[in-house]
Assembly symmetry: C2
Homo-oligomer: 548 residues x 2
Amino acid sequence: MSDAHQTNPYEIGLAKNAANFQPLTPLTFLERAAAVFPRHTAIVHGGLRRSYAEFYARSRRLASALAAHGIGRNDTVSAMLANTPAMLECHYGVPMIGAVLNTLNTRLDAKILAFTLDHAETKALIVDREFAPVIGDALNQAKVKPILIDYDDPQFTGPGERLGKIEYEDLLASGDPGFSWSSPNDEWDAITLNYTSGTTGNPKGVVYHHRGAALLAQGNVIVSSMAKHPVYLWTLPMFHCNGWCFPWSISVVAGTHVCLRQVRAAAIYELIAREGVTHLCGAPIVMSTLLNAPPPERKKLPHRIAFFTAAAPPPEAVLAAMKEAGFEVTHLYGLTETYGPAVVNDWQSDWDLLPAAEQAAKKARQGVRYGALDALTVMDPVTMAPVPADGESIGEVMFRGNVVMKGYLKNERATAEAFAGGWFHSGDLGVLHEDGYVQLKDRSKDIIISGGENISSIEVEDALFKHPAVELAAVVAKPDEKWGETPCAFVELKPGMKATTQDLLEWCREHLARYKCPRVIVFAEIPKTSTGKVQKFVLRERAKELSA
Amino acid sequence: MSDAHQTNPYEIGLAKNAANFQPLTPLTFLERAAAVFPRHTAIVHGGLRRSYAEFYARSRRLASALAAHGIGRNDTVSAMLANTPAMLECHYGVPMIGAVLNTLNTRLDAKILAFTLDHAETKALIVDREFAPVIGDALNQAKVKPILIDYDDPQFTGPGERLGKIEYEDLLASGDPGFSWSSPNDEWDAITLNYTSGTTGNPKGVVYHHRGAALLAQGNVIVSSMAKHPVYLWTLPMFHCNGWCFPWSISVVAGTHVCLRQVRAAAIYELIAREGVTHLCGAPIVMSTLLNAPPPERKKLPHRIAFFTAAAPPPEAVLAAMKEAGFEVTHLYGLTETYGPAVVNDWQSDWDLLPAAEQAAKKARQGVRYGALDALTVMDPVTMAPVPADGESIGEVMFRGNVVMKGYLKNERATAEAFAGGWFHSGDLGVLHEDGYVQLKDRSKDIIISGGENISSIEVEDALFKHPAVELAAVVAKPDEKWGETPCAFVELKPGMKATTQDLLEWCREHLARYKCPRVIVFAEIPKTSTGKVQKFVLRERAKELSA
């Protein structure tokens, strides 16, 4: 027919070159924002305002100064920082020289921090003055001797100390604002290292790459329909999955970061009003903080504000109160291993017509994959067969795609286990609803098995949450001679509200099958992890003691 | 310090696998939209409405049916289609089997179509009944004998014929709606083939890949701040750079495609009102069509509508009229080689405060890179040194990044020339403004050199456009014994408006330096390419005849 070819014509002379192939990286997002919107406010922190030109120049200074101290490709730079401008600069300056940013959870103790620094082989460590004492302890226990950089945030007024000889601002002053950084050699190169909170055993070091960070950062923008120039308030810790990649997302749309050291209702309401905040993220505890603020601290919202939550399904009462207060809540789901959220409760417009309780039930489901994730399903982890989409068959939630980690650092066995069969095994148990939405049904260890029946602790908690006096509820298994396990509920009441054990038990019987009702109700403060998740392993220990 | 490693720990045990690496492709966008929003309207065409479930099922039918006819990886499937549902299905069904979609410009003549089919080595050809005659002629001249598939669009009521034995709907009926298609082996694999309009010489076959198509499709969503469920009207031909990748963008946000065979004002206004159109794209001619519609055809817009234009800077008067009519115009720029638009006139909020004329001058600039493009600059094409950002120094506009083509099919020399020095050489001349925005100053052959002075034809056209009676103006060089060249203007007047040569010459003298004023003004219909670009090479011939 046509000219004969040895090979298919699409296979010849169409190779990659610098003009048509560049590694994906979120670093170019900041470069672009600084080039196009140099005077737009990039960062607000107390009275401080920095433009995109300044943000970019300071990130380049940081990169060049770290390079001058011998930090380079695949070296770990750890950061023990609150949600401050320095933390944002680290998200760009560190990977600009091919180094890997390891953000430390500021609520951890010295022992686990020492483990982390050693495991990460930290070469440089940037420490906020507030956390100098615990880091000092950790360094005494650790083997590594990183270069120490002290960060003295003017917004921190408490006590603190200097650990090293290098002050962050001096370091930046020594750097080059025009530093000619380079994109990674390969978009598969590591960009950050995030340790899992590890409720048992040693934390694992989750490695992210430039490709995944760029794709999830854009995915956030698309999932949230985020228009140009949003104002983003930092109520989510940036040490947590790199703030769900929002330090990079905001550059995509040249938005303003409003920093915040501590999640306090008065400050949040004030910043919303003063800075015109449009978006914020946080665990359910942030919603409680907002809703339970004393009236003088609350301000009327200037416009509807998008709130993204994850870690636990938002209870109906909280959703209703948030809506009333002017927040549009979207439920996200993901794990450290998936760059933070990779699943969204993508709202169907016809759900608007449902009664509030049914809307809340829809919103409690974790949802569907981000566009940036290739596949999400629920499978039998042994046979790798998907469960029927019936909303009842429980399996393990599995992820596949470019926003799944590279793997666990120096832990080939855990990496291989996590990726067995070509899917990331989340360890979360869930169901697939008929419409394809995933809903979690506890982690395997959170399921309560009573008289051979599986009880979802989430379902019991949901029932308790609906009681008007309940602020927080957590349900775990209590060993039981007769039934094997029975549900044991820990409850925090709202300030000024009252409810007795009897009240709550009756409430549960009205709302749940009898076998699912808690046998014991404990009124007590519920322990939470540094990222706001309920520490069920602590509660399980207490429940065990109750049976002893 | 820490455990010694033979290699850096980030280099070990963190390889790609199916769980954490998948090829980028826009095909998964449709899969997701169909999974999450199966009942949402994906396509409207006259009275026809198809859901995302149907759109996806039909695309899979197409893929499986083409596979059954022996079409496979790296085979070219050409499509001679209007903006119809079949054209959208081709954008997914063809690449689902690794084949390459080649959309044909429906306004081309048989000779050039025959060249294209032969050059593309077309294996299958899908033809709308309307274009059967010209394709019949082309096939008589061509060497290839593709499988012929006739598409009989119920919205086409004119004459036409069947060329082959396979009807598109029968083909789909024979296909499998649950066909298990696969992502490309490699995201660098070809997805489409677009021929340049080639004002001189043979057209060149521009090859796009899955990676670039996915990134530009998302880039469109981000650049246009496109929220979930937009309603997109097809006033831009889909055969033109794959409709600037919007057939894929709309799936990202689960929007509705409103098809349109022909750009007619009455139909556009009616569809805007009936379907609640939110976005549309088109060359400036589409804006003229909208603005010059007779009053009975015009309808008040139900809300502000985003209009994206490219190909020529929108003149001030047109911008003002579009704004008045309720359209928000954004100026984009790109080439077939850059997947359509890769540059956006990203609006600065402080420009809102400028007088209308200055706003228009800002908007006339081509702008800055999409986030999906890595770099955009203006350079001396010989030294590859960037021009000073002074708004005056002319150089060649250069692109670099993942939304630059793989290269020209079977044309290694042209590919090498286009990518010389690691940048894509656009052939467009422009300047870099102080703020980094690029502005075109004609293609090299459009510059008029008069008495040794360079005259930008765009500048002269802009002056003419500002005259209230001028609908369209195109300025080319006319050979001149004394000056070498002088500007020669071709002008179309608005219906019912009058202006004499003398009026326009005086107008130009008021608005331009004397040496830039046209010496000749010709009132005539201006020839345009099939994509709405003025055919300056035709005008240059006419101007030559005028001097003879």
